[in-house]
Symmetry: C2
Subunit: 329 residues, 2 copies
DNA sequence: AATGTTTCCGTAACCGGTTACAGGAATTCA
DNA sequence: TGAATTCCTGTAACCGGTTACGGAAACATT
């Protein structure tokens, strides 16, 4: 309750503010004994440094802003994980992070030394505005439009879907459908591309009737599969562009009495925490959100240090679980 | 780019730091002329006060923390709106808000003067921890368990569903179903209660076969309705406990060739921004998220000022649009 | 023994604001 | 016209930290 300041710690430990500060920042040139005694006093008093004063004294705001777009498709979990990753990386560098949801470039500039841009869309004005103001930033996710002009980090969407499809073809599946997020931007397009590459690699024919729009949502996946079933389309596997669509697809299949993976194999994309607990456990492409966050943080740090940084593609990994299995004639 | 400080503004305007500060904080006792000239210089130089220094100088952190629970059902939009409301109310009072997603009471206490608790659930330890540490807080949403011990603000769930059902009974509907969020806590239970009250008020029989679990999601609503249809349950209206379940319900009905509102009337709860644009436009119970936010902010402010505050129920309003209509035999 | 190095730590200035206090100018009052 | 008010604004201390600088010990070197 009573705020304990560095001064009080200093007095209690019988040293000066300066020394406490040095201990606090793990700077060298402090006697090991002194250090540990100060450390003791700090924990004993429950000392927590005031971030405001700290940022003031180091001359720089030492805050990085996370700017999210108002309406974004991805769920809370996605951003939660991403934010944790960013936060841990930045805080170990002495920065704190802050979310700016209302899009306000002036505020962003005033209150942060650099920004991470989330959910950039086609006619997004943030990149150019930030660029004009000279605020360092990196985008997570990318679209062709902005890809050349500013650094981004993204997951390897093409490879991801490609591997999912290859997994299915190796299991003997010949008629593999793709549940796509349609118009929702670059990621969907890249995943479709990965799907095509996978089909072609197995020397199978591309059938546009097997590419269904799932709108990136659970219901979307559910309905798309129902329509396909109603239209009597033939398929033995579905490679979805997101876990949620895969969930919807599985529900729809099961509601029609089909068994996963015996009658139909289904794969997702994301590897949400819920994917492993889903019944059946979902085979999916893990996109390492944490890795994306860490990479983005590092790029931003470099960029703030004045270096030129180039965009990065984070690798992706196929996780095989219970929802996919060998094709049974 | 170059940071402009209060000192520079002062010099440029030919006054002292003190005067600029007074202008900045809209304190009285500054000549009108001086004030406006300072204001001019400020905008001209693009001055933005450093929040860190500010909070340091006013002796208090002047930060209020928003603590969200890790996994929460509500979508991004809900929290976005709520946060905007909180932010605007607090910032006009000189506070800035910060989100703390990783649940960390020590951090909360160290970095904020008060906290808004979002998504409190039954065995949530946050209220008691905060209480023990003496940190002022108010919860948005409430459960019986914590209701007595700490102030909360919530929407009038019971009244909301009650009015939706009354709207439907007045349209002549006799067999009205309810799509509930089931186990998701207090809000669902209260909405069920409102539903029952509405049915009873019209002297209709309560039929538990007409209460369906929609899991608070779109697919949940979709599947529940499909099951009901498959079971040949009779109903001419559905009062859902959330807009999203209503969306799912409508999709399911339309997929079966039913027309809204001619064959079945559907109402939601929330009035999400998308509700008006949905086809058909959704009749729903508007919960004024902004009002909830503002009320919560005011309560927290009072509580921080040392006053005892009592919990509040925010009223709710029925919005009739195209998805509900007269019962046609 | 005198001098040169290191190592450790205290001192004081500073970051960018806020605010109590005091004093000069303008205004009102006797 | 002199005194008492009122208005406005400058001065300086302070918030809680960081850090350049310098000095006192302790140790090594000749």
């Amino acid at each position: 309750m009573a705020k304990v300041t560095i001064q009080e710690v200093a007095r209690a430990a019988g040293v000066s503010k300066g020394t406490v500060s040095r201990v606090l920042n793990a700077r060298e040139g402090v006697n090991t004994e002194t250090r540990s005694s100060v450390l003791d006093v700090m924990t004993q008093l429950g000392y927590v440094p005031d971030p405001g004063a700290r940022n003031l004294a180091r001359r720089g705001k030492h805050v990085i802003g996370l700017s999210l777009d108002g309406d974004d498709r991805r769920g809370n979990t996605y951003y939660g994980i991403l934010r944790d990753a960013l936060e841990s990386r930045f805080s170990s560098e002495g920065y704190s992070t802050r979310i700016f949801s209302g899009y306000n470039p002036a505020m962003l500039e005033a209150e942060s030394d650099g920004v991470i841009l989330l959910g950039v869309h086609l006619d997004d004005s943030r990149p150019s505005q930030l660029e004009a103001r000279g605020v360092p930033f990196v985008m997570v996710g990318h679209s062709l439009e902005h890809a050349e002009r500013a650094p981004w980090v993204d997951v390897d969407n093409i490879l991801g879907l490609f591997e999912a499809v290859r997994h299915l073809t190796k299991l003997g599946h010949k008629r593999i459908a793709h549940l796509t997020g349609a118009s929702t931007g670059q990621a969907s397009r890249q995943r479709i591309e990965g799907y095509r590459k996978g089909i072609l690699e197995a020397k199978l024919p591309i059938n546009n009737l097997l590419v269904w729009d799932g709108e990136f949502t659970e219901v979307g996946g559910y309905r798309a599969v129902r329509r396909a079933l109603a239209a009597k389309l033939e398929f033995s596997a579905i490679a979805a562009a997101s876990d949620e669509m895969a969930y919807g697809a599985i529900m729809a299949l099961e509601d029609e009495g089909l068994r996963i993976p015996w009658d139909v194999s289904v794969t997702g994309f994301d590897d949400l925490p819920s994917a492993a607990n889903f019944k059946p456990a979902l085979s999916t492409v893990r996109q390492d959100i944490t890795a994306v966050g860490i990479r983005a943080a590092e790029m931003l740090l470099e960029s703030m240090a004045g270096k030129k940084v180039s965009s990065a593609l984070v690798p992706v990994k196929l996780i095989v679980r219970a929802s996919s299995g060998a094709h049974t004639t």
